[in-house]
């Protein structure tokens, strides 16, 4: 499924969608940025509660299809601005990380 299709599910909301047609190939959950860079795969939906601007740099390098901020976390202002510049998709959800992963997995 594409990031836009994930964002269309009622549990998710797109807050930055510069590349909505990007295909989601899998998923990864984690908040430790080095761990994410070492383990996440290209095309993953990356579920995290980290909202600071460094998640954009990590995404630019690890190249997930989108960031999914779980637990009702909103991105910092800098984060949104940088994500728009770098073409990084960001969704939000009020689901906790486990339930967000389950929902994404069932939709894939």
């Amino acid at each position: 499924m594409t990031v836009r299709e994930l964002a269309a599910l009622p549990e998710f909301e797109a807050v930055c969608l510069p590349d909505g047609e990007r295909e989601i190939l899998g998923g990864y959950a984690g908040d430790l940025l080095s761990w994410v860079m070492g383990r996440a795969s290209e095309g993953d939906a990356w579920v995290t509660i980290m909202s600071n601007v460094n998640i954009v740099a990590v995404s630019t390098l690890a190249d997930p299809a989108c960031i999914v901020l779980s637990e009702g976390v909103a991105p910092d202002g800098d984060t949104l601005e940088r994500a728009k510049e770098q073409g990084i998709n960001i969704l939000t959800t009020s689901l906790d990380t486990f339930d967000a992963c389950v929902r994404i997995a069932s939709a894939l």
Binding site: D31, L32, L33, S34, W35, M37, G38, E42, T48, M50, N52, V53, N54, I55, A57, V58, T60, L61, A62, D63, D78, Q86
Partner: protein, 140 residues
């Protein structure tokens, strides 16, 4: 091809929000030069970890990326406090990052191990009170 192409970056030690800009820039440059996605990912992630380390521990430094025909060499140099015990620093999970850095998602103790994992060769030279230089090679 024996000629090399050099890219030099100064890493700003004060600005944590701009950390990673050199790595992102290198990723784009290597893509334009036609390297494989795997090579680009390995170089840019290893470099990002190094950038972050220099911002956290050394108040910045410099990064040089030398592109050869068969390999890419990354040299990260800082004038920080140095690493007292390199073997310990290389252990996954060992970190001396302060709490305010950890709250940003860094300081997992995975930086140096990731750099080793993503490169074909990695060498650390460090002297207390003088600084640290890390040499990494990724074969293309």
């Amino acid at each position: 091809m024996t000629d090399k192409v050099n890219f030099h970056f100064d890493i700003d030690g004060d600005n944590f929000t701009s950390a990673g800009e050199a790595s992102v820039r290198i990723k784009k440059l290597l893509r334009e030069m036609g390297f494989s996605p795997d090579t680009i990912r390995r170089v840019s992630v290893a470099m990002y970890e190094g950038e972050i380390n220099m911002v956290i521990h050394a108040n910045g430094g410099s990064a040089d990326v030398d592109v050869y025909g068969d390999r890419i060499e990354i040299i990260l140099a800082d004038k920080g406090p140095g690493i007292p015990d390199i073997d310990l620093a290389m252990q996954e999970g060992y970190s001396t990052a302060p709490d305010n850095i950890r709250s940003l998602g860094f300081g997992a103790g995975m930086g140096l191990p990731n750099m080793k994992r993503y490169t074909d060769d990695m060498r650390i030279e460090s002297a207390l009170g003088v600084g640290t230089t890390i040499y990494m090679t990724v074969k293309t």
